[in-house]
């Protein structure tokens, strides 16, 4: 009811400011283009991404192969187009899942405090003490390798990080007088958390999410490389870098271009994240 009105109102205001911000538009347009490329991969890609052509292997970029070919003679452009599809989906989905659950847990821990907080943060410390790649490896090993399980594994490794990120500003906000004022007006804890605290910590979460996108794509590459994610010969951006790396001195295009593609995804996500953060902060909004 009222909650939704608040968000609709907030969304309207946000869109208004977002409209004025040029860089965030660049980010949004880039992301939409990447999304379109991912969705339309079968139409766009000039060649079959897994078809090997040993005679044409390690060709430099030319009018025939715009971005060259890799060790097995596969077209790098086609593989990037197909690979961005998987990397993009895994990156967005895993960060989205992690952000959702991490925020709920972290905000609750920060707001409630006490034993619940200590327990949850202790648990997340234990999880974070294991290197992310190893943690992801462990989870995939338990669940079995597949694209979905890889997404779940990445999300699980990132949940404690988002919990931490959500917890700190929640504690800051909780001790602000306006939260005391909310309590003095008899608002329920859930209302205070969702309506009053969440909008105040959203900015930080969005920036972190856009940064963790990069890590998710990178981790997907690592796990795919050791055969626990997306299996070769299916193209993923991370997998292409790994495969092309051994020829980097003689045929840099096989690994540099997929790297640039990752850079582009992360760059677009960061621009959009920054723009959203500014749009959500009333103090950074332009004066009316």
């Amino acid at each position: 009811m009222k909650k939704i009105d608040h968000f609709r109102y907030l969304a309207g205001e946000t869109l208004l400011v977002f409209n004025r911000n040029k860089t965030s538009w660049v980010g949004l347009v880039l992301l939409v283009i990447i999304l379109l490329v991912a969705v339309l991969a079968p139409v766009i890609a000039p060649y079959n991404p897994v078809e090997q052509n040993i005679i044409q292997r390690l060709q430099p970029p030319s009018s025939q192969f715009w971005l060259g070919t890799d060790y097995y003679g596969r077209d790098v452009l086609s593989r990037i187009v197909w690979g961005s599809r998987i990397s993009f989906v895994i990156g967005v989905a895993s960060v989205g899942i992690a952000m959702f659950f991490g925020t709920i847990l972290g905000a609750l821990a920060g707001y409630k405090g006490g034993m619940f907080d200590s327990f949850l943060m202790g648990l997340s410390d234990v999880m974070m003490s294991i290197p992310t790649l190893l943690m992801g490896l462990l989870i995939v090993a338990i669940l079995g390798p597949s694209q979905l399980n890889l997404t779940i594994a990445l999300a699980l490794t990132m949940i404690p990080r988002f919990a931490r990120i959500a917890r700190a500003p929640t504690i800051t906000a909780k001790n602000q007088v306006y939260v005391q004022a909310c309590r003095s007006m008899g608002f329920s804890d859930i209302r205070i958390l969702v309506v009053h605290i969440f909008p105040n910590i959203l900015g930080e979460l969005i920036v972190m999410a856009s940064m963790w996108m990069a890590t998710a794509v990178r981790m997907e590459a690592g796990l795919s490389f050791i055969g626990l994610g997306v299996k070769p010969p299916i193209a993923t951006l991370g997998g292409m870098i790994r495969e092309g790396f051994k020829d980097i001195l003689t045929a840099p295009w096989a690994s540099v271009y997929p790297g640039l593609a990752i850079l582009l995804i992360v760059f677009a996500a960061n621009l959009l994240g920054d723009g959203l953060r500014d749009a959500l902060d009333p103090k950074l909004r332009n004066e009316r």
Binding site: V177, A181, R183, S184, M185, G186, F187, H196, P282, K283
Partner: protein, 327 residues
């Protein structure tokens, strides 16, 4: 009214403790007072004497961890604030009692417009539509004398000055027509001219809205303006309580006397100020007897081991003093 209530709030023997690394220590002990409908009671005392803790205890706003209420009762209308469920207390907060905070710069949520924050309080507790809530908020903004309320409605807190924000805070507190308002040093963070306006406004609103107020301050000058009765606190105790005129005319507790001597007067006589020597005992080193003993100018005639009680003064039933030397 059929059942004419004598008291809106009756607090007895309240004791709240905080946890330090070496154990639990009471921040306030033996707090007892009554509040009549439409009355303003001012709690006066220096920083850390427990005036805010008293208010937070009664509002149920103490931190959930590291604090506890050790004894006492607080009958508000007919129910005990200290034993009722969190849910019940939550309904009373906002509806029947609210609080105005000290920091107008941080007491409003930075991401919502000031108007919507007032309207939210009304919409949440009263059975009205959103449009009605908005109209109600605009009326309240007029009431607290915010110029051009319709234009200010969509402003964010950072657009407004401290005085304006405090007006918004007051409007929020009044949104549901409470019977009791706690004002926790509402003028301390404001400059002197704004302070005077705010006190004037609060007095006027109290007249119009017929509510009781517990006014917390360290400024005796402010008290004289707004309060009907004063309770002077020292180191977690009420040491003296009396109607305003009586207290200023006939202060009995040595601490009250010293407090009155330590504020500058503007009415001509340029006496030098008399500071109170020494420090307030910290809560983990509270003496067993009179807590003011070490700093008391009459300590030669007194004894340190006996705890004085808050007793009525002979012949003046409304004047209570906690001192062994006053009868």
């Amino acid at each position: 009214m059929v059942d004419a209530m004598d008291y809106l709030l009756e607090v007895k023997d309240l004791r709240t403790a905080f946890k330090l690394s070496s154990g639990w220590f009471p921040a306030i002990t033996d707090i007892s007072f009554v509040l009549k409908p439409d009355e303003t009671l001012a709690f006066v005392g220096e920083s850390g004497c427990g005036k805010s803790v008293t208010a937070y205890t009664l509002m149920g706003l103490l931190p959930q961890h590291g604090s506890r209420i050790e004894s006492g009762s607080a009958i508000f209308k007919e129910d005990d604030l200290l034993t009722m469920s969190e849910e019940q207390l939550r309904k009373i907060r906002g509806n029947n009692m609210t609080m105005i905070f000290q920091e107008p710069m941080t007491s409003l949520n930075p991401v919502f417009t000031v108007g919507s924050q007032i309207a939210e309080a009304a919409y949440y507790h009263m059975d009205i539509s959103k449009a009605e809530a908005k109209n109600h908020a605009l009326e309240l903004m007029d009431l607290v004398k915010i110029p051009a309320a319709t234009n200010r409605y969509d402003d964010y807190p950072h657009h407004l000055s401290g005085g304006m924000r405090q007006r918004i805070m007051i409007a929020m507190a009044l949104a549901c027509e409470p019977d009791l308002v706690f004002a926790d040093e509402p003028t301390t963070a404001l400059d002197v001219t704004i302070q005077a306006q705010m006190l004037y406004l609060l007095g006027e609103l109290k007249q119009k809205k017929q509510m009781s107020m517990i006014f917390i301050t360290h400024d005796l000058g402010v008290v004289a303006h707004v309060a009907d009765r004063i309770a002077v606190m020292y180191a977690g105790n009420i040491v003296e309580t009396a109607p305003v005129a009586e207290l200023f005319k006939n202060p009995c507790h040595p601490y009250t006397q010293a407090l009155l001597k330590s504020i500058p007067r503007l009415d001509g006589k340029a006496e030098s100020l008399v500071p109170i020597k020494g420090m307030v005992p910290s809560i983990d080193t509270m003496p067993e007897g009179c807590r003011f003993f070490d700093r008391c100018r009459n300590k030669a005639q007194c004894r340190p081991d006996k705890l004085p009680q808050l007793l009525p003064l002979d012949g003046i039933p409304d004047h209570f003093v906690r001192c062994l030397l006053v009868s």
